[in-house]
């Protein structure tokens, strides 16, 4: 019999490969939308590590996504090779996450103040960028970011899509397996029974910090993949709506399942692309209503409807 872990990994692979195949066959315009959807899928899955499995509320998840995007943009403007830009982005975001955890993360249960700290940092970052026109482009953002080179070969939208999709599918499967590993189980214990975890000799703060650092670094990576695709890094990435939609995907998809947030993000991003251009005024209201309905009536998210039993969540 298949365990849930295998089924979840299989679902990620099926959905990911389906999107990959569709993207290869479709036109440039739709491919960019699908590529965006995949990148946000990785972002949602990474947020699920800290929020779903760690039970650590972070209302400013988009802070690191935005930092990654600005990192990629600044790296290209400063003529740093894309690979080293990514390495720098990962290092900087991981250390920033470490500092934030040191300042605000407690070893108890879900902390509201830590969640708000993230949001405040994200919104302050938005203000700082808007008020720094010279270096950070102000409210216009840093535009004109091109797709990166791969060994002197300028990537096209097709090659970029294939590479990004492969990386996203690999990383999301990896995240899924990490949450099923010993570390994942200890993280769940630290979320549900912090006192018990402590008495088993685990350092709850350190475990939660690992989760936040991992999630933040992956969020920054998705941001760094996003900026070259859309060609711009803009302060709106740090705005309240950006911070909110990722939590919407995680909650609506199903917390602490990885596959739920991943598929949720890919699905919603594609829906947004399809209906967003026609009904853009209504899209966010539609999203808010779905979100409210799921929070009130279906706390486990849409994954519970598929009855993937054995999923652990709170």
């Amino acid at each position: 019999m298949l365990s849930f872990g295998d089924r979840a990994t299989a679902s990620i692979l099926v959905v990911g490969l389906f999107v990959l195949a569709t993207g290869i066959l479709s036109d440039d315009y739709f491919r960019v939308a699908l590529c965006t959807a995949m990148i946000f899928g990785l972002f949602a899955a990474s947020t699920d590590i800290s929020f779903g499995f760690g039970g650590i509320l972070n209302l400013g998840a988009a802070l690191f996504f935005g930092l990654g995007a600005y990192g990629a943009a600044l790296g290209q403007l400063g003529d740093i090779p894309y690979f080293w830009t990514l390495v720098l982005v990962l290092l900087v975001s991981a250390s920033a996450a470490l500092v934030i955890c040191w300042a605000g993360l407690t070893d108890g249960r879900t902390s509201v103040q830590f969640g708000l700290l993230g949001l405040v940092l994200s919104l302050s970052m938005e203000q700082v960028i808007i008020s720094n026109y010279d270096i950070l482009g102000g409210s216009n953002g840093l535009a004109g970011i091109k797709l990166p080179y791969l060994l002197n070969y300028q990537m096209t939208s097709l090659t970029y899509f294939v590479i990004v999709s492969a990386v996203v599918i690999f990383l999301v499967c990896l995240i899924q397996n990490v949450t099923k590993s010993h570390f994942g189980r200890v993280l769940i214990l630290a979320r549900d029974e912090p006192e018990k975890a402590q008495s088993f000799g685990y350092d709850v703060w350190a475990i939660k910090t690992y989760a936040v650092v991992m999630a933040s670094a992956l969020a920054a990576l998705s941001g760094a993949l996003y900026a070259p695709l859309v060609g711009i890094a803009y302060p709106g990435l740090f705005a309240i709506a950006s911070n909110m939609v990722v939590l919407v995907w995680v909650i609506v998809g199903g917390r602490a399942t990885i596959v739920g947030p991943f598929v949720g993000a890919v699905l919603f991003k594609t829906i947004e692309f399809e209906i967003g251009s026609v009904y853009s005024d209504w899209y966010l209201i539609f999203l808010a209503l779905i979100f409210l309905a799921v929070v009130i009536f279906l706390p486990g998210g849409l994954v519970t409807l598929l009855n993937l039993n054995g999923a652990s969540r709170r």
Binding site: R109, Q113, L123, S124, W282, I285, A288, L292, I296, P299
Partner: protein, 287 residues
């Protein structure tokens, strides 16, 4: 003498006015979040809604006072509606769910306002535009009026919470819900009352502060951030918390801003709030 007033009095007055603004903003949140630990992410949007109601009713010919009362009434009713729909129920089940639900409402409110009223900014005129001279600077009398209002509202809230029967019930419910229930207090009604009062205060704050801001559907997040920072800095549950919080987030920021620029003062204020958080180490944890 003149140098002394310019060096000292003017920045102090600026800081006092900035504190008064933050105090007005955060009082509604203090009642809901500070006392009842319900993280109302829609607080800023409620303030924004109050500002819109004030602007619309002023356009319809209402005076300043009646427009403010209308805003308080309307936003108070919105709060009761939110409470009836889900907050009251979810609060018992899972506090994280209440937080997320109020965030959903925040998005719903700001997007609905954008759809109905358009995304453009609105300006609300102050009821009086006289100015006074203090130490060579001109101040709108309205700013000084806000200072008086803030003092009156904090005094009234303090009086209601500490001296009246309703206040005792509210604090008892906030502190120990089971004990309050055993003493014959209907905690459900008390919570609905508190949520409605918090909402009404947010609405009134929006109406009173509207002349100071360019009001648009997305200004709510700015209000939310200021008020959450103030509540966190001031501490929860203590009646004097909002005063301290407003002093740090409004006053200290304004003072630092005098000697530096907005980026430095923003980060210095954040550092100060973080320091207060670390010093206090008593965090709100949700089960």
């Amino acid at each position: 003498m003149l140098a002394a007033t310019e060096m000292f009095l003017v920045p102090m007055l600026d800081a006092l006015i900035a504190s008064a603004i933050v105090l007005l903003l955060s009082f509604g949140l203090f009642i809901i979040y500070g006392l009842f630990r319900v993280v109302n992410m829609a607080h800023g949007e409620m303030v924004m809604l109050g500002a819109y109601i004030a602007s619309i009713s002023q356009g319809a010919g209402f005076g300043f006072t009646s427009a403010t009362l209308l805003a308080a009434l309307f936003v108070g009713l919105v709060a009761v509606f939110m409470d009836m729909l889900c907050i009251g129920r979810l609060r018992v089940q899972s506090p994280v769910a209440t937080l997320l639900a109020t965030w959903g409402f925040a998005l719903l409110i700001s997007q609905s306002v954008r759809l109905l009223m358009g995304a453009g900014g609105r300006f609300v005129s102050a009821p009086f535009d006289a100015v006074v001279q203090v130490g060579g600077n001109t101040y709108p009398v309205y700013h000084l009026f806000l200072l008086v209002i803030a003092i009156l509202i904090s005094a009234a809230t303090w009086f209601i919470l500490v001296r009246t029967r309703l206040g005792h019930r509210v604090r008892a419910t906030a502190e120990d819900i089971e004990l309050a229930e055993l003493s014959g207090i209907d905690s459900r009604t008390i919570f609905t009352c508190a949520f409605a009062i918090g909402g009404a205060m947010a609405g009134a704050a929006g109406a009173v502060l509207a002349p100071l801001y360019a009001i648009n559907p997305f200004v709510g997040s700015q209000f939310s951030v200021l008020s959450f920072l103030a509540i966190i800095a001031g501490g929860l549950g203590n009646v004097f918390g909002p005063l301290l919080g407003a002093g740090v987030v409004g006053g200290a920021k304004s003072l630092i801003n005098n000697w530096s620029n907005i980026t430095i003062s923003t980060f210095a204020t954040l550092a100060l709030v973080a320091l207060l958080m670390i010093l206090r180490k008593r965090d709100v944890e949700l089960r």
